[in-house]
Symmetry: C2
Subunit: 758 residues, 2 copies
């Protein structure tokens, strides 16, 4: 009876519609506060008694779990004898004391785990000694001397790190609490954990109640401490906010921080980071209060979020959109926990191949489960797939489109970023794209300008160049109007508007989506259609149609950069090169960081640039609007040129990485269509000394909608080697349309269709 009632309470929360959401939450929250009894007794925070027994048996047997146990035991045994090192907080992120305090929680956690498994007192002693040292120091600590602006910590420069410290250390404490005397427990709890919880919750209401990953870390830390120290009140506050109304807290974070598809609006790099407190706290809730059915909440949103984080990776690394550090990927500890926990709940064997790549078995109940499953060869391939990840609370504020050609590790992947801004870590990159092949970035996003934890680089913070370059529109593969960034570089404005996805179609040979963006510029709207094509004849290409819609008669300069990765091989443009000296391309909005290497125009119909990355050639081709004939009378007033750039200007501290880009620039334009193709072609084989198809095979690219003459159809022709001709047909209606082309009749039944024209 109680159980049913409580489920209803949770459901009523989840279903609360916007207008009565706050009210309902308040009611639910209070109801739950009374209904839930804290059930933590003699059980560990993250595993059941049974699991603990199984783990203790597993370390005596053979397998991945025992291997990891032995490795970790060897590691921590060496630590046990070392003198304690609990220095007074002094350094910023990446600095000495910062790293020592991080190391301490990691070592305590390890020792705690080994104690759970072995019950050998020396491990508990070690954790106790370290916690005592912190308990002796903590009460007298002032705010950190290098405190970060918004929310300082005491052990660390920001309270975020303090919450992380608590998430780990409370687990270590949980492991050994059972063998401590009341006096010892009191020394640790009253001097360390209670004041820390108080500092992170009551004294930091803005962070604690924030619907943001910083808030999730704080609520998880406090909630987990609540379970371990038997403080139901802390748990309730963590779940429903300090006032327990549901306007803040973990449940609302679950409801609002992920889209229905499990997409976190700052992008995968932060999604991975945000995931840790979500999955750990949720696991603690599940173990301690299974009746809350936390993993079923909002249609299994946490499992979706874990899977989405994996899907948003290529060759093990996350898509580097927004403020992403590029070398982060699926082996981060957050996903090690997340994927193992998800497997424990779903038993999806595809997750096991991710676990295997992570190569990091955890000494937890859920760690044992994946270790056993891998030992039993249950692993199957992870089902990477072409998917649309809706952004926003309802999944309708734009989307991240991921197109994949197949399941191989080095398959082609196109990411079309039609998401919303993504808060403070978002970039001004509406409707940009990225492309991957053979395990490499080919058309890339710069990611964040930051050297995480490297003190010499601005203390490991985001560098000034993150704002002056990495966030700016020109640093991305999308439209720049008059050398201004989207929303004129205002995050506040960016957060107000999001793209509209017009359609998405994910088929075997054609993955395609179209989205439009308004308000990125005052008097310009733009619509982009991106298609990843893999024809039965083996041609692989991206078709990119960018329609610029000018709302006034003003003439503009449109730049369309392609940040490519590889060695420039060739162009059909005669480039006028700045050989003896070169200048920055502009003065601001990111342009000040680009050296203009060369510039040129062509009278050819197509503008081509070929580059080589590893052993594959890539050619980017754009229709040259300046070469157009009378069909578009305004075109003749336009000027189109190709600019080649490299990062490095106005970068006296070498904070930026010297990547290159090609920019197709159209000047004196009003409405305009950029029609482009990226071809994947050929092979350079230095081992066997041969080279195949190093030249672009694309011979013609055109918008032939006028030729077809049906107003409801947009038709694009892509021709290779002067022969093989494909048509991409986009039907603006929902009805069937028929047309003739080169003596062949075509019946169009879908939104987007790829045809052989010959």
């Amino acid at each position: 009876m109680k159980f049913i009632k409580q489920r209803f309470a949770i459901k009523c929360c989840a279903r609360g519609i916007a207008s009565i959401f706050l009210l309902l939450l308040a009611v639910c929250g209070q109801a739950q506060a009374h209904q839930h009894q804290h059930k933590h007794n003699n059980k560990y925070l993250l595993e059941t008694h049974d699991q603990v027994e199984q783990m203790r048996a597993a370390i005596m047997a053979k397998g991945r779990f025992a291997d990891k146990f032995n490795q970790q035991k060897t590691y921590i045994d060496a630590k046990l004898m070392a003198p304690l090192n609990v220095p007074l907080p002094a350094d910023a992120g990446g600095g000495y004391t910062h790293e020592v305090h991080k190391k301490n929680y990691a070592d305590m956690l390890t020792a705690g785990r080994i104690f759970v498994l072995t019950q050998e007192p020396k491990y508990a002693q070690y954790v106790k000694r370290v916690l005592f040292a912190y308990a002796d120091m903590y009460p007298s600590l002032p705010l950190h001397p290098k405190q970060k602006e918004q929310s300082p910590g005491k052990l660390f420069w920001q309270s975020l790190n303090e919450a992380v410290w608590l998430v780990y250390s409370i687990q270590a404490y949980d492991s050994i609490k059972g063998v401590l005397s009341d006096q010892e427990k009191m020394r640790i709890e009253s001097n360390l954990f209670e004041p820390m919880v108080d500092y992170l919750s009551e004294q930091s209401p803005q962070t604690f109640n924030k619907i943001h990953n910083h808030g999730t870390w704080a609520t998880a830390a406090v909630g987990m401490a609540g379970y371990v120290m038997d403080k139901p009140d802390w748990v309730e506050k963590s779940l429903y906010g300090l006032d327990k109304s549901g306007t803040g807290g973990f449940m609302r974070q679950l409801d609002e921080l992920f889209s229905p598809q499990g997409y976190y609006n700052e992008g995968p790099y932060y999604q991975r980071y945000a995931l840790m407190p979500f999955v750990l706290f949720a696991k603690a809730i599940e173990v301690n209060q299974p009746e809350r059915e936390i993993f079923k909440h909002r249609d299994n949103i946490l499992i979706k979020a874990i899977n989405t984080t994996v899907q948003l990776s290529y060759n093990g690394l996350f898509f580097a959109i927004n403020d992403a550090i590029k070398d982060k990927g699926i082996d981060t500890v957050e996903l090690v926990h997340g994927v193992a926990i998800a497997y424990g709940i779903t038993q999806e064997t595809g997750l096991l191949s991710i676990v295997e790549k992570q190569n990091n078995i955890l000494l937890t109940g859920y760690g044992l489960e994946v270790a056993n499953a891998l030992d039993a060869n249950k692993k199957t391939a992870y089902p990477f797939a072409s998917m649309s990840f809706g952004d926003g609370l309802k999944g309708d504020e734009g989307a991240l489109l991921v197109f994949r050609q197949n399941q191989a590790d080095d398959h082609q992947t196109l990411v079309f970023k039609a998401t919303s801004q993504g808060l403070g870590h978002g970039h001004f990159d509406k409707l940009q794209w990225m492309f991957y092949n053979k395990g490499q970035e080919i058309v890339s996003d710069y990611g964040a300008a930051r050297f995480l934890n490297i003190e010499a680089k601005y203390g490991g913070h985001y560098l000034p160049e993150n704002n002056t370059y990495a966030k700016q529109t020109v640093a991305h593969n999308t439209l720049v109007v008059d050398q201004m960034s989207h929303f004129n570089g205002s995050t506040a404005k960016g957060n107000k508007y999001h793209p509209q996805v017009l359609f998405t179609q994910l088929d075997e040979h054609l993955n395609i989506s179209s989205a439009s963006m308004q308000n990125a510029y005052d008097d310009i709207n733009f619509t982009r259609t991106q298609a990843l094509v893999n024809t039965p004849e083996g041609k692989v290409f991206v078709l990119d149609i960018l329609d610029v819609d000018a709302l006034t008669n003003t003439k503009h300069v449109y730049d369309l950069p392609v940040h490519f990765n590889g060695q420039f091989i060739d162009s059909n443009v005669v480039l006028d090169s700045y050989t003896q000296q070169q200048r920055a391309l502009g003065d601001n909005n990111g342009y000040q960081h680009l050296w203009l290497q060369s510039k040129g125009a062509t009278t050819d119909d197509l503008v081509k640039v070929t580059w080589l990355k590893d052993r594959t050639f890539y050619t980017h081709t754009t229709v040259n609007s300046a070469a157009k004939t009378a069909t578009n009378s305004s075109a003749n007033t336009q000027d189109q040129s190709l600019l080649m750039t490299r990062i490095g200007a106005n970068d006296p501290n070498f904070n930026l990485i010297a990547n290159q880009a090609l920019i197709n620039r159209v000047s004196g334009a009003n409405d305009h269509q950029f029609l482009s193709v990226l071809e994947v072609h050929g092979e350079y084989n230095p081992t066997q000394e041969f080279t195949l198809n190093s030249h672009s095979q694309l011979t013609s690219l055109a918008n032939i909608s006028d030729v077809i003459g049906l107003p409801n159809l947009n038709v694009f022709s892509v021709q290779f080697d002067g022969e093989l001709e494909y048509l991409l047909v986009i039907n603006k209606t929902d009805s069937q349309v028929t047309f003739d082309y080169k003596q062949k009749k075509h019946v169009i039944t879908r939104k987007a269709t790829l045809l052989r024209a010959n």
Copy 2:
């Protein structure tokens, strides 16, 4: 009797001392011409009857050989049905017809091998059809339309490719000859192979008799054809030159193209290429005339050459000295043959781990041997070692010094290039160095400016920038005087002079060598001492002492570039940056290709630059001579600055790769000592989010010879963290020397000694 006489004949050749060398060779050559009977009957060119039987059995069993057979059979079965494609020669290297003719010989060879193994007529038919097509075309071919200057071919733009074609095709013919009618054989031999042999030998005497790898390809092709077609005269000419005097030909190539340590003077990239005809022809000689004991010639020189080629690699890729294409390594087909043949002769199981990395089992007798050995798990680690590879006929014309820390794949390796010029493919890089760690180049040589086989890049030739940049001294990590290259960029002059190695000592914690160079500049000699140090306390560093000895009173500008690979992190020099525009650093000798990014001077004692490559930090430190006090009175007139550069100026076609360098520049100097250290330190771990020791720990670096005050000792102090102090002591004498330093007594018994000073 005959056997003994012949062995004597060979020995007398090998022992011939310089003064009577030519005479003896002439005598020996003629003697052999009469003594050797061509023994090729019913045996294959490269394997015995027994081996053929074993191979035929192996394809019916399980294992690597059978796997490869099945794979190759599947491949060639698909080819058998395809129409023949033997186009008229038209394109340069990398072009269509060039690649087709290469593909044809490879496919013929494969089909031939499958025929040997299966005896199924269809494979012989295929080879015959292709050879007929060539036989029909060849007699009427003029010189190739895109003929290369020096020595054009007919099928290919250069005769070198034609010789390669013959080396392969004659093997294919050898495989099927036994089932052809006399008429068929005549069609192929008289129309194709005989005229081709004639063209490559009698009509191309300069190439055929040349002591150079082009000569080796020609002699090997002709000699192998001689065995297959039973023409002892061709074999003799191949071995001893067209006039059979021994002044040209394969035997003299064996005697002169490798140093006694098996070093080929153009460097490993060309050594690998040159190796192919050596090992194949030698194998053919061994099979057909084992009494020549070709592999024992000159103290097993061919086996040494094969092993040296492997030793001259790091992480599978060759040291990129001279005109090297950087992505060439131990998996090239030349070494696949070489290593398998060497294993067949030596049974050294270390070679098997190279075979395993090559992952390319050959369908030959020696291929079967390594496949069987790998199947039987006989593999051991390849014994990579610190070694000195003497250059020149006697090994005394300089040396390539290779220092390795251990056997791991990602170990630290220092290459100190004190070799001679290396003929036309040599660079002006006397006494330069390179450094590798964790599988990566850290301090690098540019290698060749060339995109092999990529037509768009100057037809796949060496680019003009190979001369204007890659060969120039500034493109290397060595001394540049007054912005001029060594030997003023004259290869002819460079070939006249070579460095003198003064001493080399290869110990567990200290690998060190010293070499001096005269005549690279008219009035400057320089001596460099390079040490790779790995202390018991775990400090890893390179110590680099470059002494510049001015022969006149003229003041000079000395540049010492370090071409580093990684992201600049920090410097203690306040750099004056060219933020809005940047210029080329100079007008010629390679300087015209370097953008000067920034420049600065420091008053500190040390000039430091730190960079990050993958997850490790590197700091290069040089003593700031301008900061020196009164001890050296002339020092005050010197000016020392740090220049940061990036390649890219005067490169309108983007032919160069935009690598960076730091350059320590000392102006107004006469005699000078550059004293530098490269530290390997710290760890950047983005997965686990920690950073350790990102700052240089080197706190002091000094030449303290004056402090010690013993004229026979050079003493250098290297101090870390203000504590740990090491002394490198170099004893100029051969006697024991004793000295005191900081209350400790030190006894020096060796040439070079590394001490703890505290």
